[in-house]
């Protein structure tokens, strides 16, 4: 028997390794297309016509009334796009999440602009810090009203124009905490405090929940007037998941 040529062996092995490397890498870049690995995506739709949203007259605050002169604003309890996409729905994992509450690294901002809360609905993790800012020329007062007697405490703070951001945090889950401004009674928003990852639907009703390890979960979708809906979902390793919800207009 002839002795194996060492150089030929190394060359073949390298070629195989390089081929494997290339193939694996291209596979990964294929998976990078949305939805991301370990994520849940979907849409929330509204079936039926959205209830009439009333126009808001801000004349008692001329600075804000002027901002909306060209585009009048309305109440935002049910915001649906032309194709039925439902905005401001918070989708979160209500069962099956066993990881420690996600160490949320971002500090979202709750802004007061044009005498409205931007965003109207904000998702938060327990113990995730958020910042309240006032971008208006008038003073606002932020008054979150968690459940009376519950673990989260009500607070009520004024924030004059140009004041530094207020840093705040919620210590317990609560779906959801209504926020209002006493000075401008039409201002209304919600903070949804959950454990684990969450997503909030946008103008087209699409939402994304990232960083979900494989497993079986129950997803809950919450809308401020239409209530909640649940769905069971199984997330397999390496495979993205989708979930969609449909709310019926009351």
């Amino acid at each position: 028997m002839k002795k194996p040529n060492l150089y030929r062996v190394i060359g073949t092995l390298s070629a195989v390794l390089i081929l494997a490397f290339v193939v694996t890498k291209s596979q990964r870049s294929v998976r990078a297309a949305p939805p991301p690995e370990g994520g849940i995506a979907g849409t929330v739709k509204l079936e039926g016509t959205a209830p009439h949203q009333r126009p808001i007259d801000m004349s008692k605050e001329p600075a804000c009334a002027a901002v909306h002169k060209a585009n009048p604003v309305t109440t935002e309890n049910v915001v649906a796009g032309a194709d039925g996409g439902l905005k401001n729905v918070v989708v979160y994992i209500s069962e099956g999440w066993s990881g420690s509450p996600e160490a949320a690294t971002s500090t979202p901002t709750w802004d007061q602009k044009g005498c409205q809360y931007i965003p109207h609905v904000m998702g938060l993790d327990v113990n995730q810090h958020f910042k309240v800012t006032n971008s208006d020329p008038t003073s606002h007062n932020i008054h979150p009203m968690p459940k009376p007697g519950g673990p989260n405490h009500e607070w009520n703070k004024s924030q004059p124009s140009g004041a530094p951001p207020i840093d705040a945090v919620w210590g317990s889950e609560e779906v959801a905490i209504h926020v209002k401004c006493n000075i401008h009674p039409w201002m209304s928003g919600y903070m949804v405090v959950v454990k684990g990852p969450y997503g909030v639907s946008d103008d087209s009703g699409s939402f994304k929940i990232e960083n979900v390890p494989p497993g079986n979960y129950t997803l809950t979708a919450w809308q401020e007037t239409l209530g909640t809906q649940t769905q069971k979902i199984t997330l397999a390793a390496g495979k993205p998941s989708t979930a969609s919800f449909t709310f019926k207009a009351k």
Binding site: S139, E154, S158, P160, A163, H178, K180
Partner: protein, 595 residues
């Protein structure tokens, strides 16, 4: 009325630091304690007013250090709208209760009433000590409100329900408001004890020869004030208790049904906010006379001494003070013209309010008329006493407007009202206190105050307070609403220059007060030793040493032979005759030709 004196409870001279200076039953020490408490309260109250005025004209100004008092109320040192109202509430409460009721009445009254009637002490010395310490506890409870939860209440010193009865109506309305109500209730108890003491002492402990008509005018003022106070505080105390019950015990004295606060239906029914207003103002109006009458009495007492001639009519002053005291109970509804009570009652309350002008005018006319032909002596005390007359007139004439319901329709709730009550209470009554201090410091502390500093203090305060408070009336005429933490309405923007002028005047006048505090503190320890009678006065406080011994007269109570205020006497060994002087001189009062 008999003039045989009963004896105050005999007590031996106090031993030990605590008994001498802290838990003392000696009315002189208690009087000084009240004065000291009032001084502390007025400095806090004045500082609060600076914060308020600065915020109104420079809303984004960061007050260095304020964030450590309240991180929620003043983040970064910038005052929030609620904190402004909280500071305002504490300013009013401290000033009306702990300064204006404490100093001219409890402070000077405690020190001088027994001496001026020739007694060793008050009728109930231990009650007296208790009344001070109860008041002190009330003060501590009130100040504690700065440091709890959301901070002090924001409902004003008037604490109208349901704002004050429902914890959810704003920051500070939970723990802070409850502490406020407790503090005021405790204060009422202290005042009731004090009033009982004053009345009993005046009626029972006058020395031989001291008939009621021979009492000095300030004594009369303290006596009348304590009668008013007994009835007034007796109504405020239950009102505060009912308020506390509404807040913590689920009762609904002041809260009706169907209210919605913070998006929730309030669980109360059957109460009336107007009931709180009636109870509060039934106390509140006599309270403002409790604030001014002692000052008026003190000023009368000092003016006579400065004029070196008796007032045109001693009796008229007494009867006018009595008349004002009596009428003060009939006018409380003038605070409620627009409150929704029966509009006919507005006319009923307006009538005695207008009639009160008459005795008040008589007082002013007698003060000014007695100045005619007198030999006016100018010193710090008399300067402030004369300033009182000017301020009393200025504050009083704005009352003409507010007493008429139709005019009140326009002026209610504006700076016109704020100008009115600050002129009478915040300036005139304070002038009375300053006059009393300069006049009586030699007697109280045995040392003279510095006259030059006193005169500088007068000039700065006299001109300064006019600069601060006269413009309030102009703002009110334009309709500038009060109790606003910021002026954002369209019609208020052009008034900002006036507000800036006021703020600068307030800060400057406040700075001048530091001269007074320095003078008081320095003189207390380093002033020239005072003689027994530095102002050649005639009343009994000048018939004993400066300061008086522990039992006021060294064991031998004086006997009174003359009316007070025997000044301008022909043929006497000076231009005055002391009350206890046995000189059988035809005195001015008894000589019908002079009066």
């Amino acid at each position: 009325m008999h003039d045989v004196s009963a004896h105050a409870a005999h007590h031996t001279p106090p031993q030990g630091f605590l008994r001498k200076y802290v838990f003392s039953v000696d009315h002189k020490v208690i009087g000084k304690q009240y004065y000291g408490l009032g001084l502390l309260a007025v400095m806090i109250g004045m500082a609060l007013s600076w914060l308020m005025r600065i915020h109104l004209v420079w809303p984004n100004f960061a007050i260095p250090g304020l964030q450590w008092l309240s991180s929620a109320g003043a983040p970064g040192g910038v005052i929030t709208p609620e904190y402004y109202l909280q500071l305002m509430t504490m300013h009013g409460t401290l000033m009306v209760f702990f300064v204006l009721t404490n100093v001219p009445f409890a402070g000077f009254g405690n020190f001088f009433l027994p001496i001026q009637i020739g007694a060793e002490d008050m009728a109930f010395p231990r009650f007296n000590m208790m009344s001070f310490w109860v008041t002190f506890v009330g003060f501590c409870v009130l100040v504690a409100a700065f440091f709890v939860g959301d901070g002090p209440p924001l409902s004003g010193w008037t604490a109208y329900a349901p704002l004050s009865a429902l914890p959810g109506t704003g920051p500070g309305q939970a723990m802070g408001q409850t502490l406020w109500a407790i503090s005021i209730a405790v204060f009422c108890i202290g005042q009731l004890l004090g009033s009982l003491n004053f009345i009993t002492t005046t009626l029972d402990l006058r020395t031989k020869g001291m008939t009621l008509m021979r009492m000095p005018l300030c004594t009369w003022a303290w006596f009348i004030t304590s009668c008013i106070g007994l009835l007034a505080f007796a109504v405020l105390l239950p009102a505060c208790i009912l308020l506390i019950l509404d807040r913590v015990a689920g009762t609904s004295f002041f809260v009706p049904s169907n209210l919605v606060v913070s998006d929730q239906l309030v669980n109360h029914s059957g109460g009336s906010p107007l009931l709180w207003q009636h109870l509060f103002w039934f106390f509140g109006h006599p309270e403002v006379y409790i604030a001014i009458l002692p000052a008026a009495g003190i000023v009368s007492h000092i003016l006579v001494n400065s004029y070196r001639r008796p007032l045109l009519s001693h009796k008229a002053i007494i009867y006018c003070m009595m008349g004002i005291g009596f009428l003060s109970y009939m006018v409380w509804g003038h605070h409620m013209f627009l409150s929704g009570m029966n509009p006919f009652s507005a006319l009923v309350f307006s009538f005695p309010t207008l009639v009160i002008t008459i005795p008040a005018t008589i007082l002013v006319l007698i003060w000014i008329g007695s100045l005619y032909g007198s030999n006016l002596q100018i010193n710090s005390a008399s300067l402030f006493a004369l300033g009182f007359i000017s301020m009393f007139v200025s504050g009083g004439v704005s009352g003409f407007f507010l007493a008429q319901p139709a005019i009140d329709v326009y002026l209610h709730g504006t700076y016109f009202v704020v100008g009115h009550f600050h002129m009478v209470m915040g300036v005139a009554a304070i002038f009375g206190m300053f006059a009393g201090t300069y006049f009586w410091a030699p007697k109280m502390f045995g040392r003279m105050m510095n006259e030059t500093l006193g005169k500088i203090h007068f000039w700065g305060t006299f001109v300064g307070t006019y600069c601060i408070f006269m413009p309030f009336h102009y703002l009110g005429l334009v309709g500038n609403v009060r109790r606003y933490s910021a002026f954002v309405d369209d019609y208020l923007a052009p008034l900002m220059p006036v507000h800036r002028f006021i703020t600068i005047a307030a800060l400057a006048t406040g700075a001048v007060q530091l001269i007074f505090v320095y003078n008081l503190a320095y003189s207390r320890f380093k002033g020239k030793p005072a003689p027994e009678n530095p102002w050649q006065g005639t009343s009994l406080e000048w018939a004993t040493s400066s300061p008086p011994p522990w039992d006021n007269f060294g064991g031998k109570l004086p006997v009174v032979y003359h009316d007070p205020y025997q000044y301008g006497i022909e043929g006497s060994s000076g231009d005055y005759v002391m009350q206890n002087s046995p000189e059988q001189i035809q005195t001015a009062r008894e000589d019908k030709k002079l009066i």
